[in-house]
Each structure stands twice: as C-alpha cells, then as structure tokens.
Symmetry: C2
C-alpha cells in the first residue's frame, strides 16, 4: 500500500485556501498511485485558530469544507484534520478530529484525547476531550489514528507526565497494523531530537510502524518545521520529509527501506531556517511584500536586515540609518558596508535637529532638571516615529530589531526601538545573535566583522556601552535562560555559581519589565519559553 | 454561631502583604466574637497569579504562609484560599484549595473541581481537578465548602452548561448545614444580578443557607467588586457586604435577619465605581502616585481625567494640552475649563514646530507624495512621545485615553494616542463614554457640556470628524457589541436590521486591527468580552 504524507503549509482561518491546497495534494497523490493521503492536524482550519473557534459560522464553514474533502476520496483514502461537533448540551461542543474518508464519504472520526493547555497551547479553551478510540480500515490495513499531544504522554518516555492516561496504549489495544499521528507541532530548539526519539520508542514499544505527519509554515509567532517521519515496527526511522518547507512523500508499505541515520541539524542551523520561514510567512500571509528597519550599526539590526534579505529578497528590504550626535563614526560606515554586502536599499535621516527641537519644546517642563534616561528614550522614539512614518507612507512592514536579552531586562524603549509589526529575533539571546551572525558568515563575510566585533552600545549618550547597565552578556544570558526557560529561582541560580548581586539585579529587571513586554510586537518563537502568548505573568504583582 | 466574611483586597504575588491583611482581619474577627472567619479564593496568593504558579519557590512560600495562617486559628476557625500540593507524579501537582483551619492546625482541604478556562480564565493551565468532596465541621455546624466556578454549573440555572457535573450537588449529598463558596469573581456589567439570582436559587434548591465571599480590588485588568452575600435556606438575601471596597461583616446564625430587597445599582453606576477602583489599585499596587494624560478637548480624555481625579485626587493628575494647527479654538478653551472644574494640574506644549520639523526631515523620502494618514499618525506620535518624555522625567504613569469603539475599529494610532501604562476606558464603547460623562454630571457640571455636545473629531486634519471614517457611534456600537460580546457573525448581525455595507465594513475594520490591539496598553475589563487577555485572535489569519 502506498501512503502519501502531505506536509502542507496552511494559513489559519483561510478555509478556501487550505481546502485548495488539500485538493491539489490529493490530485498529486492519486497521480503518484497512492492509496491513502494523510494531512496534518486541523489542516482545514490551520493551526492555531484560537478564538476563531468561538465563531459558529467559522465552525460551520470548516465542516462544509470537511465534507468537500470527503468527496475527493472516491479514488483515494484521506485522513484530514478538522473540527467535528459533539451533540450534547455541555461544554464547547467541538472536537479536534482526524477524519477518515473513503469512497467519497466520511467513514470514521478520531477525536483528540489529550488537549495541551500549557505554554502557547490553550486547547481546553476550545475543545472537548474524547475517550473513545477506534480503528480505521483501508484495504486490509487497520490504522490507529491519534492527534499530536495524544502521543506525548508515554509513561516509559516521560519521567513527569502531564496526563494520567496514554491514548496510544488504548489505541494499540485495538490491534492496529499502523499507527498514525497527525500533528501541528511548533518548532523550538532541540525539539526535533526529542520528537524523533519519542516516536521511535513508541513504534518499537508497540511493535507497530508509525507515521508522524506535521504541519509546516508559520502562523504569527509559531513556526512549524515539518519533518514528517515514518518509523518501522522496530522504531527505525525509514522516511523523513523536508523540514521548513512543504513536501509530499510516498511511503510504500511493501517496499524495503534502508534505515536513516538521522542526526538533526545544529541548533543554529535550525534557528536560521526557522526565522527565514517565520519572516517570509508573516509577510506573505498578511500581504506585505516589503519590510523596513532601522539600522543602528549594531549586531541586532544587522542580523535582522540579513534575515529579511534571505526571507524576502534584497529588493524588498529598506534599511534606514538615523544617526544622532551620539552615533559613532563606525555606525554609519559599517551600516553602509552591510547594505552593500546585502544589496538592499538604504537611506539616511539624521535625528539631531528633531532631538534638539523636542528638547526645546520640553524646555519649560524640564527646567533645572538634569538629562537622564528620558533623553535617551526620546532619541529612540524619534527613530520609531520616523520608521512608522515610512511604514505608513509606503506600506512596508516595520521589523523591530530587539533581542531576547534586551526584552527580558527591559533594556529597550517602549514606542521607540520596540516599534514594529514583527520582532524576528526577540526570542534570541544576545549570545545567540552573535552565534547566528557567525553562522551566516561561515563561508564569506555577509555581516561585516566590524559589526560583530564592536562593543555593544545603544549610542544614546556619549561613550555608552550595554555593560554600563547590564551584566556581561555571556553571564546575563545564562541567568536569563535558567530563569525564563528552566523556571529556576533566585537561590537555585545562585547555587549554580553566579554572583548573588548579579542574579538579584537580573531577576528584578525581568520582573519589572513585564509592562513593556505586554506591549511588544509579536516575535518568532524558537526557544521552549518565548515572551508572548506562552508566558503569562501579571503586570501588577508583588512577588519579589 | 458568628461567621465573619472577610472581603479583602489582596495583591497578586504579595504573599507577606496578603498574609498581614489576613492576620489583621482574623484579629478583628476574634475581637468581634466570631467563631469562624472566611476569606476569598486564593487570598494568600491574590487572584489571578497566572504564571507565578509555575514558580516552585512561590508555591512553597505560599504554603508556608498557609501554615502561618493555620497557626492563627487557635481562637477562631478559618477558611482561607490557597494552593495545596498533589502528591502523584502526573499533571501540575497543585490544587486551588479552600483550607479549613482550627485549633492552630489545618484540619481539612477542599479542592476546586471546576476549573474555568474561558475568557480571561486559564485555570486548567495551572491546577488539577479534584473530584473528592468532604464536610468541614466547626462546633456542630457541617460546612460544605466550594470554590467559585464550582457553583456555576447548576443544571436548573443554566441552559448550556460548561461541565458535565455539579460539585454543589455532590457536596450537598453529604448533608451540610451551610454552603460556603469562596470566590474571586471579576466584575462585568450585569454580573452582580446573575450572581445574586444564581446563589439564591442554589440556597433554595438545596434548602441550605449559603455564604458567598468574593475578593475585592483590582489586579492589572481585572476588577473584583466584592459584594459578598448570605442567603437563608429559602434563598432570601439576608446580608450583603459593601461593593468595590474592603469589608468585614458578621453573620450570626442565631439571629433573625430581615430579608433584603436588593436591586443591583445601574450599569453606569457600577462602571463608574469599577473604573475608580481599577485606576486606584493599578497605581497603588505598581507604586505610582501620580498620573498624566493628554487632553485633546474631546470627551474621551475629559472622562479619563475626571476618573483619575476621583481615583487619585486632583493633586495627582497632570493634564497636558498639545495643540496643533488643526486644533479647534474650543479644544484648548474646553480643556482649560475642565482642568479648572477638576482642580487638576495643566500644562500646554504646542506641537506645530515639531510636526513641521518631522515633515522637513522626511521631505526627501516623501518627495512628490500627497499627505495622507501618515501625517495624521505623525501628530499623534509626537504627542505620545512628549507624554512619554514627561512620564519618564517625572515618574508619572501615562494614561491612554482610547475607548473600545476606537480600539475595535483601529481608529487609533499605535505608538501615538495608544501610548500609556493603563487604558482606563478601553473597554467602554463611545456611547457608554457619553453615558458615563452624563452620569458624572448628574448633579452639577464636572465635564463641560461643550465637550459632551461637540461633534467627535481627532482634529488631525482640517474639518475632520470621526464620522468621515466610522459609522455613527450609535449604530457602530450596536454592531460592535453583537460582534465582540455576543459573538454574532455577519449575516446574523445584518438580520437584526443593520445595513449590509456598514456591517461588512465594521467587521473588516475589527478583524484588520488585531495587530494594533496586541500592542495596546492593558485596559480595565468591564464588559463580558474585553480586548486583552480574554480575547485571543490570531494576527495572521485568512477568515473573512
């Protein structure tokens, strides 16, 4: 039997677009002689649909498209992700379903049992839990179908489990010939390795071949990396789809496959691919062709410009230099070199006159008061205002260039450098920013080495350096990682060998900056805990 | 038996502050001869603690304070809301608990069964569900204790239920003499009436007296209105705590109470009280004494200035007038009259020079291009930057003055008039803004009638009126209400008698402004569906 793995890039809410993509893939799979084609979780709706699921007309229409998909199944079996209704009068009344169609009809529905409700996931908000399991049969093959999280609770794989039962065990007790898991599993650093190990173990444990099909493409902050896989009954990986792009692979159950020795790419390579896809899909799916950003001469904006060029092409990137009296000579020279290396557009708008005019306008209010962080923020906000004016006038998307270390500590100006429709590197620590720049330069200099090697500075007052305010980034980032991603607390972090004063200061900066992050542009999630929808701290709070 | 209802105003995460408040109330209740004192849900932690609950040291410390509370129970019984641990290795391992203490010890724990996970609530993210029920006994009185949502699933009260069982039924089957529900139930328009009816019906249905104790005070966007209540076994209301302020009432089970004919205050009166409390608590709990805002001459900023004065006192409010060449003569005169009426501080910073300087700086970029919305936004962003400069220099909190109709339709400038740490009226439709202004003026003119009666305009270009861009507010607000709060869709709204073109245009404006709202300042929730944490739409989406 030939099974097609349709790893497609859907757009949340674009039912007709997603349906057309499904139809196209069904036709291709028929053409390739496949007996059945399998699509990712909620592929009719796109993942995650969030509160669109509260709209009854959206649910209704998605179910109409589900029926349309079923009509495509007269020459091929289809397993597709969609929403189905529950009939009682209790709860949300919808399920997250894997729907099996054949002979032009829906013949079986597998509903999701384990609803993730942590980090960026809120599925209990939308769906009901199912505890009914069944087998779908195509030809003589008995398929046990599960949905994403259903496979993530194996008691032999996880020391700490989130749920008290394992749907895969229940499904396996029905004697399937093949396990299928349809997913919408977002990318984060290191996850590809865990997935590969986990699904391998499930196949081996149940002595059943397993197909894992994942969504690809980005929707707002979440990047789905694809990499769908087939494992044999011994848990050997025998087929893998491309990552970070659409793919349609055929798995032939009659064929003998060589085992794949799969070593996932390095973290930095993964991050690079993820961000390119994230930027490209955000622009494409919101209708922006071109982007602009402010180029300061520093590493962050240089990296964002470079990523934007790779994602959208040099003709679609505008870099704006906005020097002040505090800008170093190098900052313009290095920026111009970068613009030249990338082949993108560049323009210069000095801010000194505007800065002086603001100070003049505020003269009476600020009489007898010393200059302080107010004037630093002011420069940043003048730049933000100029960039937004260009964005408004030309219809380009503004990219914010802040990194995770800045956003964590509040070392960023609200309504200034935080302006933007998308913040592509806001989930990258400063040390990762450097790593990624070096990765991009691995074959030849793309980002000028002067930019990589200079001492980081916001250049908002004379002789300023980031380390006037922040601990050295190699120390800071390790503390931030422990606090944000590992949820470690003060004493635990100190016990790892960091200085108490530095840890106290860092944690305080993180806690006090929550109000800024609540107004930050959406970022692209690449770590296990990004600022944004998956991290929910109160602004008003008295803990520490 | 004398039962004290301790309706306290806790701060999320401020364990020591909350403990001290609990201790103080225990001492007062002992002094008043109470046999038992009852506190609201999670009163040791404050509600909602959100991701603070992921911090193990926070949980540990809250449990230490719980033990400290239990030690206060040698002369009085205590029912207090806190977190307790589950001992298995599955799930989040914590419960949302009502803990009964007497004789200096914890003697019983009632865990929450129904975890709300809709709108602003995410409790499944944090807590495990309990299905164990028990009775706590003080003297000879058997108390059946439940927590907030546990009481909100009575099949005789709700047509559509969220959960498939009713904890109150289970508790009642244990034969309690008294039902107690400890809550942290946020305010929204009309909810007080529903609560009163619902708890009355529960008491009557089970023929058992019922005590409902609610949190009071605001934490970030949520305002808790208090109004704790006692119902007799016939469902008659016999005691009610103050609303929108702390209160300690004693209910004497031996005493005969007169029935209270309770008609909740009008919606507009409730909104007024809620917003005052919301502004006051946001400032107090984040450490701001003073606020500032931009006064445009329009109704929105006039209302915010007035609310701020009531919340914080006239000496703590600074109003900034920032006229341009497009400002009407009246806008300054009316603003000055308001400042005079309120007795608050006022200052003026004209923006014309800055506006001209920005246009000069952008001259090359904008060559041969017509003026458009860019220049309108520019004025708004200059004002935002000036206000933020004052905020930074003086340490005053900036209040954003936008209303819900603007935020819904995107009729607001990101990084301009949307700047601010708190947006007090962002959950008020424009028509409600007028109602509230008239309510405030009910006895004498506080907000000048010229401001109430003028035609609404952003004054960002000559002869501008809001209705150049938006449908008339009385129509717009009805459509917005149906779309946002009632989750009605296009055809349903049209069928209510609105013009198709207007409805289509309105819904499109709402959908397309999601990116702006994601970067908006936190608001104060007063409706059943506020923008902010309780409404989660994707930015990238293709539905309609």
């Amino acid at each position: 039997m030939k099974i097609a793995l349709a790893q497609i890039n859907t757009t949340v809410g674009n039912l007709i677009g997603n349906f057309n993509k499904i139809k196209q893939n069904v036709n291709t799979a028929i053409h390739l002689g496949a007996n059945i084609i399998i699509f990712p979780e909620l592929s009719i709706l796109g993942y995650p649909p969030l509160d669109l699921l509260d709209k009854q007309t959206f649910i209704d229409e998605s179910i109409e498209y589900l029926l349309e998909v079923s009509k495509l199944s007269d020459k091929i079996g289809i397993v597709v992700g969609g929403v189905t209704r529950d009939t009682d009068q209790v709860g949300t009344n919808i399920f997250n379903s894997a729907v099996f169609c054949t002979n032009g009809k829906i013949v079986n529905v597998h509903n999701k049992s384990l609803l993730p409700n942590y980090d960026v996931f809120d599925e209990v908000r939308y769906f009901e839990t199912s505890k009914d399991y069944s087998i779908s049969k195509i030809n003589t093959c008995k398929m046990g179908v599960s949905i994403c999280e259903d496979a993530w609770n194996d008691k032999d794989f996880w020391v700490h489990r989130k749920y008290d039962f394992d749907p895969i065990e229940k499904i396996n007790s029905l004697g399937p010939d093949l396990l299928i898991n349809i997913s919408a599993s977002p990318f984060s650093i290191g996850k590809e390795k865990i997935r590969t190990q986990m699904f391998s173990q499930i196949a081996r444990k149940h002595s059943t071949p397993l197909i894992y099909i994942n969504q690809v493409g980005a929707n707002t902050d979440l990047i789905f990396d694809g990499g769908s896989k087939v494992f044999d009954r011994n848990g050997n990986l025998i087929l893998i789809s491309n990552r970070f792009e659409e793919d349609l692979k055929i798995y032939d159950t009659e064929k003998n496959y060589n085992l794949i020795q799969y070593e996932p790419p390095s973290d930095i390579e993964d991050i690079f691919e993820a961000l390119i896809l994230g930027i490209r899909d955000y622009c494409r799916k919101t209708g922006f062709e071109k982007v602009l950003l402010g180029l300061s001469g520093g590493i962050d904006s240089a990296l964002v410009a470079t990523l934007a060029k790779f994602a959208l092409g040099e003709e679609n990137v505008l870099c704006v230099m906005m020097p002040s009296q505090f800008s170093s000579e190098g900052s313009i020279a290095h920026s111009k070199k970068l613009i030249n290396n990338l082949g993108v557009q560049g323009t210069t708008i000095p801010i000194e006159t505007l800065f002086n005019q603001f100070k003049e306008s505020l003269k009476n209010e600020f009489k007898n008061l010393k200059e302080d962080v107010t004037e630093e923020n002011l420069q940043s906000r003048i730049r933000g205002t100029l960039l937004m004016s260009l964005s408004n006038k030309f219809g380009y998307l503004l990219l914010a260039t802040g990194n995770k270390s800045e956003l964590a500590t509040g070392y960023a100006t609200l309504y200034g450098d935080m302006c933007g429709g998308l913040a592509p590197i806001s989930d990258l620590y400063k040390t990762t920013v450097y790593e990624l720049a070096k990765y991009i330069n691995r074959n030849s200099e793309v980002i000028p080495n002067e930019i990589i090697n200079k001492i980081p500075s916001a250049e908002l007052k004379p002789n300023q350096s980031d380390q006037d305010t922040l601990p050295p980034y190699d120390v800071l980032d390790k503390i931030l990682y422990q606090y944000i991603e590992e949820a470690k607390e003060l004493d635990e972090i100190i016990s790892m060998g960091f200085e108490r004063l530095i840890v106290e200061k860092t944690l305080k900066m993180v806690d006090r900056s929550e109000y800024k992050r609540k107004q930050a542009a959406p970022g692209l999630k690449v770590t296990s805990k990004a600022f944004g929808t998956g991290r929910r701290f109160p602004i008003v709070q008295g803990w520490r």
